[in-house]
Structure formats: C-alpha cells, structure tokens
C-alpha cells in the first residue's frame, strides 16, 4: 500500500539508468542520510559515535573494497587487512614527514599508495584463480605487516613499533569530538560509496562482471584481462587503504601493525559475503553483523544475567551463538543480508496482499 511503485514510468534514458529507480527508495535513502548527517551527530551518545558507528563505517568502506574485488570482479583475496595497514601507515608517514600536509590529501594519497601495492599483489591473479588466488594474496597480508614491523622507518622508530595518529585537521579546523570525527568518516564513506556504486553500474563494473563470469569469454570479446583485473585490485585496495586510515585515525588512534592481522582479513571477507556479494548495501549490512553482533550479544547477556551466571560461561556462549548465527545465515540465505532486504522490499510491494 505505502510502498507502491505502479505508475512510475521511465520515459527517458536518464531515468532508466538512475542509481535508484523508485521514488520510495530515493525518499528512504534521503531520510537515512538526513538522519545520519543532521540527527545522529547531535543525539547519539559518545559511546555510539566513537566505538560503534565510526568503526562500522570505516570497516564498511573496507568491505566495499573487498566486495569490488570479490563480488564484482570475482577475484578471491585475503589481503584486505594488509592493504588497510598500508593505508593507515602511509597516512601516518605522509602527515609526519610532509609539513602542512592536509589530512584529506594525505588520506587520498594513502589510498593511492595502497592501490599501487594492491596492483603488485594483484599480479598473481593473471596466473592463478579462485581459492588458489586467495592463498596467493595471503602473501600480501603477511608481507605487508612484516615489512612495517621490520623496518622502523614506517613507525618513525617507535620503541614498540606503535604509531600515535595525528589529529585530523581540515581547513584549519581540528576534528576532535566523537561527533566531528563521525561526520568526517561519514562524509568520506558516503562519497566513496556513491563512487563505487556508479563504477559498479557503469562500464567499469560490467568489465569486472564479465571477467568474473567467464574470463575466457571476456578476453575473446576484447577485454584486457590484465587491465581489468589489476584495475579491480587497485580500486579495491584504494578503498581498503582509505578505510584502514580512517579506522586508525578516527577509531584506534594508537595503532600497531599486528592490529591488521589475518583475522581482520577474514572478518572483512565475511562482511562482504554475509552482507551480500555484488551489492552496494551488502558491505554495510555485513560489517554491522560481524562487528556489532558480538557487542550486542555481550551487552545483552551482561544485562540479562549480570552477576547471576559465571561471566566465563556468558563470554563462551556469545561465541557459540555468533558462530551458529553465521552458519544458519549461510544455509538459509547464501546470498546474504542484502538479499533479505530485497525480499522484504518485494513483500512490502504487495502488502497487504500475498501476491
């Protein structure tokens, strides 16, 4: 009833190729963005802003990068945390070593550096495929963290190899409060997500998908595999790099290279898969699930049982439930949370009738 899309005709090419074809969806997105920009910064508590929303947005960006590589271009990669580390430490060194380096420029440059590193580690994708490529990209994960650990220059010779990120300053204004930092992250994430969506729907994305679905056919049709695959690696790593820098600057603030370990890579991959591959909203849903579910379980259980039950049992139980939830999701909805959202939309379209 409310969500009816009958009568919305696409009468021009421009209308036909809109990112969001239905008016209701556009209104919903606008409302969400208005809430995100103008309501949440003023109403949410510091806890929500600084340790829930900021890491969620930053990791959503990383998962978007992983999704570009895995979902659209079909290249399995396990190096996302490594590329995050490149972004974070590149940003730190750019800010440290170049006087008067503006934060936004450093952020974009760190993404570019991550992209270059990504291209290097994407080279094996021309020879190996599928799960074997994932194993090959593991090298990126371990090599990058090892290099940053091994050579003190990257951490400015800190005695314990830990960097303390500089303040985020844009046009002379220091972003220090949780709300301000949230707004920076939100702005960057919105812009880059918009860009990613457009890339995926445009020619670039079609090339990726052609390579994903059958690379031999794509090559026969005149696509350069070398170019397309490396481009996917570069863009994906750019997103991971920027996400990693934001994760370090707006969330952790003191970073050791080992924070970007293989577990983080796995979690980013799960975010992309559970959220829904080759969708724009998927990485956001997946990041929310992987990042927030354990926190939600912990908070609920502490609140419910508190001192009544042995805290060790509560903690162990959380992990069990979290694991079971992932398995159930993969069994009942292998296409991810984004697919659930789509089903809900389809149902809503017919509501209150069954079909």
């Amino acid at each position: 009833m409310i969500y009816r899309q009958a009568g919305q005709f696409r009468t021009s090419y421009a209308a036909d190729s809109r990112a969001i074809p239905f008016r209701e969806d556009r209104v919903a997105l606008a409302l969400i963005l208005i809430a995100a920009y103008f309501v949440i910064p003023f109403t949410a508590s510091d806890y929500w802003l600084s340790v829930i929303l900021v890491p969620w947005l930053a990791l959503s960006l990383v998962a978007t990068g992983q999704n570009i590589l895995m979902g659209y271009a079909g290249q399995h990669s396990l190096g996302s945390a490594g590329f995050m580390a490149v972004g974070a430490f590149a940003c730190y060194n750019l800010m440290l070593r170049i006087d008067g380096m503006p934060f936004l420029v450093a952020l974009i440059l760190s993404g570019v550096i991550a992209a270059l590193v990504g291209v290097v580690f994407g080279l094996p994708s021309l020879r190996v495929r599928g799960i074997y490529l994932a194993v090959a990209t593991l090298a990126a994960q371990f090599f990058i963290v090892w290099v940053i650990d091994k050579f003190g220059w990257f951490t400015n010779y800190d005695t314990s190899g830990i960097i303390t990120t500089q303040r985020m300053e844009i046009f002379g204004y220091r972003f220090t409060t949780p709300a301000e930092q949230y707004l920076i992250v939100l702005g960057i994430v919105t812009a880059l997500t918009w860009l990613a969506d457009n890339m995926a729907r445009g020619r670039t994305g079609r090339n990726w998908m052609a390579v994903r679905d059958m690379d031999v056919a794509a090559e026969v049709m005149g696509l350069s595999l070398l170019r397309t695959k490396l481009q996917a690696f570069a863009i994906s790593s750019f997103y991971c790099g920027v996400g990693g820098a934001l994760f370090a600057y707006a969330f952790l603030r003191s970073v050791e290279p080992t924070a970007f370990d293989i577990y983080l890579s796995f979690r980013v991959m799960f975010m992309a898969i559970i959220g829904g591959l080759a969708t724009t909203i998927g990485p956001f849903l997946g990041a929310a699930f992987i990042l927030l579910m354990p926190v939600f379980l912990n908070t609920t259980f502490q609140g419910l049982f508190g001192a009544a039950v042995d805290a060790t049992i509560i903690s162990a139980l959380e992990q069990v439930i979290f694991g079971v939830a992932i398995i159930l999701f993969m069994i009942f909805e292998p296409l991810g949370l984004a697919r659930l959202l789509q089903i809900a939309q389809d149902r809503l379209r017919q509501w209150p009738f069954k079909y």
Partner: protein, 458 residues
C-alpha cells in the same frame, strides 16, 4: 555503625585467626544488609575470558573481583561499597576500545575512575584517551613502558613495574648465575618473542644493556598466534645460546615453547619466561618438559599470604568467589589480580582522605591523585596481608614505574619455587634515563608539554 565498620575493617586487615569466625559472621551480616544511603564507587572490569588468553583473563579479573567482593564484605572503603560492570574484550584492541567507552559510565550512573586492560594491545588502544577522559590507566606490569615517566603521562601508572625493568632484571639474574657481569661478555642471549608490540617492548633496554655488557643478542620473532615454533627452535639450536628470554602470549604459545625446547634439547633452566606467559596454566600443559623453566613474577603465587587466606575464607567461604574453580586461588594470575585491586583500593582510600571525602565516592581526578600518592611500604603491605607477595613501592609525581623489582621463580613440575629475592635492574638509572628520553620524544612528537614535578622529598 561506623565504629562497628571501623572495627571490622581493622580485623579484616589483620590476620588474627582467633577473631576470624566472629568476624566472618559479622561481615556476612553487614553485607546482607547494606544501608539505603550506602555510597558506591564504580569500577570497570574489561575482562578477557575466552580465546587463547582466557586463563589470564579469568584468573586476573577473578582476583580483582574477589578482592572487591572481599572489601565489600568487610565494610567497604570507609563504608563506600564497590560496584562493577564487566565487558568482554577477547584481548583485542578494537574490542577493548569498545569496552572502554561502554564501561565509561557504570550501572549506577557513575563515571569510571580507573581502567586496567590486562594486555599491551588494549593498553595502547586507549592510552591516548586517558587525560581527556580523566581516567587512570592502571597498567599492572604490562603496557607502554615510557609511561612510567609521570611528567609526560600523568594519567598512566605501572604499579607492578614495566617490561624494561623486567628484562634488565632477567639479565641481572643471568649475570648472577654466571658469576658476575664481567662473565657475561661474549655470552649469547636469544630474545624469542611473539611478533607484536608486546614482544618487542623490552628490546630497546635489552639492546642497550647487551651493548654495555658485550652480550651477543639474537632476536627471533614468532608470528602470531605462535603455536608453530619449530623453525625458530631449530635456529636456536644452531645459535647455541647461553640463555633464552621468552616473550609468549597465550597459553598455547607458552606451553608449546617448553615442549619445542625439549625437542631440540635446549635446557629448560636456561629459559626465562615473561610475567604474562608463565603461570600454572601455561606450565601444566607442557608436562615434564616444563620442569626447570624460570619465570619472572611481579606478584608471587601461593596461598600462604594472609590476605589470600582471608579472601579464601571470607569470600569463597560464603560461596561468592568469582573463580569457577576455587583451586585456582593463589595461582599466578589470580594473585596478580589481587595485587592490582589492592592498588585500586589503596588509591581510593588515599583519594578519600586527601580530598576530605571519607565515606564518599571520588572523581577521576581525585582518584588519580590518590594513585599517585600510593605509598606501599613494607609496613603497609604487612597490614594488608600481602607482604612478600608484592614488592614495596611508592609513586611520585615523576616516577610512575612502581617497585621496579621482581622475583625469579622456577617450575618444579607441580608448582613454582621462588628462587630469588626481590631484584631489579643492575643499573636502574640507565633504564630511567632511557624512559625519560623515550617519553620526551613522544611528548615532542605529539605536542605534549611535560608537567613540572616538585623534587621528590624522599
């Protein structure tokens, strides 16, 4: 009522066995009927109860909670009852940052005054927020070393001594075994460590001492999680070192170290474990391979200390203990947790007295001053019932490094035998100087102006 509490507390501190039964009954009554106007002080418990660090987390935070319960059951801190909330960190930096914010305000609406992450990654994740949030970071023998410089890090303390002093103490112990520093020249020491900030933390001090003594220092890193150490131990066999200092993390890695050493026939009594890797839970799984291994202690394990016996009797006697297995009372991690909690409570007591708030809760800034005023001299430790369990220490405005002393223990297959008295670095001033330099560099890089400290009267 206050008099009764005073009297009860007096008994609680003491160790008079004769008064024990009457006291327990009184304490139980008191705990059962808290006054409606009872003042409360809130403490956060960011525990790590699952994963490879569960033995550490359950023991350490169990010790803290048991001591808080004990204080509550014996009348609180000048009548102030302690409340706490728990949050699971999984020994993970990001989760610790989340817990830090979640625990910021307690169930009674009070802001937290102290935070103890039990783990270097967690400490680093929150260390830059302390001054802003007015929370004390009470590192207990772990964490950022140069935070021992109170002029740069007014909000960070390390009551149980830091890793640089610890490694210097280990080298001093080796020198003692070898018959003096002069005999150390040309000796080979391997620092085998997990490849993380925690594993590398002691290296600057170690390198400096190695150079001074003419030691041959070999650094070998094990990638996390460290269950696979075969190639590193083969390398050690080739190097034929005289000593190995081992910085392991998590029970799996720590017990594997001993079995792997046994496999290449490296003598276990030439290995020295770090404080946060050598506990009963790490030793027992290694079986006979663990016999002879040295472990450094900043809080000595054992059940013979009066306070441990009191907690066992009062808290566990009433069935209110936090450990699911009461046998773990008196183990390394549990005793360390008690040591940490004793410092919290003494700081709270100081803060109440300093700010004329006896019987009332204190703020973060007041608690900080109370922590800085900690003077745990031998007499006070005796009073608290933890003499010989922890080394006497006092904090000053500039010196936040605690006792700077440790004891060496040796695993005999079933329990730890203490084999040395409290000992510190051979040259503490050298370590202090390095800390000052490192802290000054950090201050300069991050635009912090170190505060001025009055000269220490003592």
């Amino acid at each position: 009522m206050t008099e009764t509490r005073e009297a009860l507390r007096g008994f609680g501190r003491g160790v008079r066995v004769a008064a024990a039964a009457a006291f327990a009954a009184g304490a139980a009554l008191l705990a059962a009927a808290p006054g409606a106007d009872a003042a409360e002080q809130y403490f956060p418990i960011p525990s790590s109860r699952v994963g490879p660090f569960s033995a550490m987390g359950t023991g350490y935070y169990g010790g803290i909670i048991d001591y808080l319960t004990y204080v509550n059951m014996t009348g609180g801190v000048n009548g102030v009852q302690l409340v706490w909330a728990e949050c699971e960190t999984e020994y993970n930096a990001a989760r610790t940052a989340e817990c830090y914010q979640r625990l910021m305000v307690g169930p009674n609406g009070q802001r937290m005054v102290v935070f103890d992450t039990l783990g270097t990654p967690g400490a680093y994740a929150v260390i830059n927020r302390m001054a802003e949030d007015q929370v004390v970071l009470a590192q207990y023998g772990y964490g950022r070393t140069d935070a021992a410089d109170g002029t740069v890090w007014p909000w960070v303390f390390n009551a149980a001594s830091h890793y640089w002093d610890q490694i210097a103490m280990k080298l001093a112990f080796m020198a003692e075994q070898e018959g003096g520093v002069e005999n150390m020249r040309g000796k080979k020491v391997v620092h085998l460590h997990i490849d993380s900030a925690f594993g590398r933390e002691p290296l600057p001090a170690m390198r400096a001492i190695a150079e001074e003594w003419g030691l041959n220092l070999v650094e070998i890193a094990i990638p996390s999680p460290g269950l696979e150490q075969q190639s590193q131990w083969l390398q050690i066999r080739r190097e034929r070192p005289d000593w190995v200092t081992f910085y392991c993390a998590g029970s799996g890695m720590c017990s594997t170290g001993m079995t792997a050493a046994a496999r290449v026939n490296f003598p276990r009594d030439r290995m020295i474990y770090v404080t946060f890797g050598g506990a009963e839970e790490d030793m027992v799984p290694a079986g006979d391979a663990g016999v002879g291994t040295y472990v450094v202690a900043n809080a000595v394990p054992g059940r013979d200390f009066p306070l441990v016996q009191e907690i066992e009797r009062v808290v566990y006697g009433a069935g209110r203990g936090n450990l699911s297995n009461p046998e773990r009372v008196g183990t390394v991690y549990w005793n360390r947790g008690v040591g940490a909690a004793v410092a919290w409570i003494e700081a709270l007591r100081n803060a109440q007295e300093m700010f004329d708030k006896v019987g009332q809760p204190v703020t973060g800034a007041e608690f900080r001053d109370g922590y800085e005023a900690l003077d745990m001299n031998a007499a006070r430790l005796e009073e608290l019932g933890v003499a010989e369990m922890i080394a006497p220490y006092r904090m000053t405005c500039a010196e936040h490094g605690g006792a700077r002393k440790f004891r060496m223990m040796q695993w005999d297959g079933t329990q730890f035998q203490v084999v040395s008295d409290w000992m510190g670095p051979n040259d503490p001033d050298m370590i202090s100087e390095m800390i000052r330099e490192s802290a000054a560099r950090f201050a300069e890089e991050n635009g912090i102006t170190p505060r001025e400290c009055p000269p220490d009267p003592a």
